[in-house]
Assembly symmetry: C2
Homo-oligomer: 552 residues x 2
């Protein structure tokens, strides 16, 4: 057997397009709005993006049509971490190109942006595209994390574009990759190249969104995959009436994934990093919150529950953030001295005279295995690898200690047993949901129309996503419109602003309204595995986050 039954069946799925893109190519009309501005730092951004700044918003409508049937050569890049639906973006782009002109050619750059820099390509044929329709993963052409940053890298990219005679490059990526797309668009134009650059909003983390990008692709599928597993654990805990499951969820800094999974499964606790930071909640305070639920539920006879923890949490806890910064500094300063010490007791002694007492005390409260994670495995820049800190075990350790203390004071008499989990890689390459399959295909098709219309420095945009696909709106948003200046890694750079969970937004507020009930009662939902066939209410729903953000 070389492919699975589901993969074979998914080949026959025809992704839905918005009405404005689904008719004849001649009927697609491109409408331009008024010039736009960036979200802040107007003057500086205008001077960085001299030729591409401030372009108008673009909307596609059904109409008399522009001429977008010329022959094109386009290259496409998958950039950064995998997200379900990437292959469908490429399929949508391919189908658009070929529908308009069968002589058009689509190149895939192998292994991410380095494929553009080093001119590593494959011509994407009908056969290759068909092999990957509606599948997960980025394995059609691979992905990579190289950034186009140096003058040489920009020059090589330009050379590749010239060599291949490219009309356009499409970069499918997250906020960083789309920032890169904006810089590349500007560089090409400023250096006399006609190669256009178009971005597409990808990331399971859900942090690439704004007024014009309602969601990034892959978020829907990843959240639903994690929610399947969380729901299964909810049912397991509720059946055996034992185990508190502490579940860390991928998602980098933002807590969008945790929040969406909370809506899908109604766990007892879901921590939101953005709230922890805003309220300056200490680790003790977080442990308070979890223990309050454990104690209350235990009094009700329910010694089990579910805790969701966003991956980035530790960096949002003020005293831990401070500790991490200080550790990064002192260890970088005396790297060699520190490297000679290998056991925790000696490392703690070494630190005692080097970090402030308050931080030293924080270190002391950490379970030893976790304390070690703060001191080991530094990244190439000498920093703590925050993603490798087992926050779920940190919290379990502290909760256990607290409950033991409460038991001594007869404030708690339950039985606390636990399991820890980390769900991340499991959700990045699932078969895209019907939503992601349709959304991605539409994004790819829309990218084609932007290219055929001669536009550059845009991100493909498909909106009105809570409506049926036929009613979706498609067009392009100037990348500079989503940018501001930020200080990152020691210098000020133009970047696309990352969207964290909005504490004034409807999703967060809805969560707050419910969470006290969830903390005490058993309100678990069991969403089950993603369904690709069957009733529409099971197969074709967008995320609850999207509904809460956009439903009137």
């Amino acid at each position: 057997m070389s492919i699975s039954a589901l993969q074979n069946a998914r080949y026959t799925y025809k992704p839905k397009l918005p009405d404005c893109l689904s008719g004849s190519i001649e009927d697609i009309t491109v409408e331009s709005g008024a010039p736009t501005e960036s979200i802040s730092d107007f003057e500086q951004l205008r001077s960085i993006f001299k030729t591409t700044y401030g372009k108008p918003l673009i909307t596609f409508v059904k109409g008399k049509g522009s001429n977008i049937k010329h022959e094109l050569k386009v290259g496409v890049i998958l950039s950064g971490g995998q997200a379900p639906g990437g292959h469908n973006v490429i399929a949508g782009l391919f189908d658009g190109l070929k529908k308009a002109n069968p002589n058009s050619v689509l190149y895939g750059f192998n292994g991410g942006p380095s494929g553009l820099i080093n001119n590593k390509t494959v011509i994407l044929t009908q056969e290759i595209i068909d092999e990957y329709r509606n599948t997960g993963g980025f394995d059609m052409i691979g992905s990579g994390r190289t950034k186009i940053e140096t003058a040489e890298q920009f020059a090589s990219s330009l050379q590749t574009a010239k060599k291949l005679g490219l009309n356009a490059v499409v970069i499918i990526g997250g906020d960083d990759s789309n920032t890169n797309a904006a810089l590349l668009a500007e560089y090409f134009l400023a250096n006399g190249s006609t190669t256009q650059v178009i971005g597409c909003p990808k990331t399971i983390d859900g942090d690439l969104k704004n007024d014009y990008i309602e969601t990034s692709f892959g978020f829907d599928t990843a959240c639903k995959t994690y929610s399947e597993l969380i729901g299964n654990l909810c049912r397991d805990a509720n059946s055996s009436k034992k185990y508190w499951h502490f579940i860390k969820l991928m998602g980098r800094a933002a807590s969008h994934i945790a929040l969406e999974c909370a809506f899908q499964t109604q766990p007892n606790i879901c921590l939101i990093s953005e709230e922890v930071e805003a309220k300056r909640m200490s680790l003790e305070k977080i442990v308070d919150q979890i223990c309050a639920s454990i104690v209350k539920r235990s009094e009700n006879g329910d010694d089990f529950g579910i805790v969701l923890i966003p991956e980035g949490l530790v960096e949002f806890i003020p005293e831990i953030k401070k500790l991490i910064d200080e550790l990064n500094d002192v260890i970088a300063e005396e790297e060699k001295s520190f490297a000679t010490i290998t056991n925790l007791i000696d490392q703690m002694y070494w630190l005692s005279s080097r970090i402030p007492e308050s931080s030293y005390r924080v270190m002391q409260t950490l379970p030893p295995d976790i304390a070690k994670q703060f001191l080991m495995d530094r990244d190439p820049h000498g920093n703590v690898q925050v993603s490798r800190i087992e926050t779920e075990k940190l919290l379990v350790g502290m909760v256990e200690k607290r409950l033991a203390a409460m038991k001594e004071k007869q404030l708690y008499s339950g039985k606390f047993t636990y399991q820890t989990h980390f769900f991340g890689y499991e959700g990045r390459c699932a078969f895209p949901t019907n939503f992601d399959a349709d959304y991605c295909y539409s994004l790819g098709f829309s990218a084609f129309v932007l290219i055929a219309s001669g536009l550059t420095g845009y991100i493909s945009s498909v909106r009105n996503l809570i409506a049926p696909a036929s009613e979706w709106l498609a067009g392009g948003v100037p990348l500079t419109m989503m940018m501001n200046l930020e200080h990152r890694h020691g210098s000020t750079k133009p970047v696309i602003k990352k969207a964290l969970v909005d504490l004034n937004g409807n999703p967060y507020k809805t969560f707050v309204k419910n969470r006290e009930t969830w903390a005490e009662k058993t309100c678990f939902l069991f969403p089950g595995a993603i369904q690709y066939y069957g009733p529409a209410e099971v197969c074709d729903q967008p995320t609850i986050t999207l509904k809460l953000e956009y439903e009137k």
Copy 2:
């Protein structure tokens, strides 16, 4: 929202019954075979099961029908770990009872066998049953791990049966619970009670099977849930071209789950505990095997892969098994002395004069974090808690060390990065696949017919499972027919023989035929999430293990 869209949709699913059970109740005819024997220890088992030994095999056929329409009172128990489909067994039993006689009553015993001992019941109404049709979990009545062992427990169980006026008790459980069912059937009859006892074969581990029980329920759903996740990781690794994923899979001693997941996903390595034991493979030998694949793939440019590890592996590695036995002994002997020592270095010193040098050397080769797991967290009997040993991290640690040594000798020049996972609880409470939903419902209905036919000491049996459900065969197998005597926990007991992976069986042989190719090439399959709707080849397939075992 109080239930998920999928749960709501699954309520409308009508589980399929075999033809022999699906017509009118009057048409079900009960056929008896010749008397049977146990698999060994005939005389001893005959004397233990004086009144229930050696009953005939029972088959249901469509025919003129026996009178099975009388009013019945039945109690049902969910015993042990959760397995998808338990609710459907109860639904099938309920529907059978009510179809035959609307006045019949079904009691649920709460929280497992202790519900029978302590007479904790709920009357299962149509409303309750309907709330749980085709759902995962055991939350309808809960489960528990109490065994009916002492004279008092047997007497209390009998008292409950009398008090409720039960015609029968149905015990849904694994090999231990069904052994218990056999003993209870014998006890009831020997003590003048007419309460019959019927078992049903449950366990995700797949180790309750024999010539008459083709598979236990839940195995299908659990394997497919794990395979979804493994397939997603396969695709992720193949997309980013990095990470070796070391995945431990639940399943206790037997490697059935790992083997089925290997068929579903075609990983680079799948370890089979039964083979490790048979070939007396050392830990070093296992590490050899994994490293051979890593090195070969690295030479092909593929620094990524998937390794599946059955949960019970460590106990099948001869020197580790020996080590565990010796640790259990010496620590039990000097429990208090050992308890005062808390760090690994001192513990090792303590052990050095107490365990044989060969075992001491094995301890020394273990990564320190894993060595600690062998010494901590002993179970109530003072034994190492094998299920808590992180075998996936043990293997990663040893592989890393070996590769470093090979690198020094220039035998390996790749880049080894890894992730570890444990999939277990995630699969025990998934919505049952169509297969498990149908199989369980049929098992429950068949249990009703056995009861209505006045039989006791039987396990409900549904066979010919690779055929469409309409062609399934239903009946009952005398529990004593599946038994032998085994020495467990210090005494010789009658038990149902656990089915480990048969090294002469077709599934294992098929695996062996393929594994060399899988170890070197990338042959991953991506089965995706369990589908309940859509094409039959996606939704209605039994496990590959079943097909390999029974396909002609």
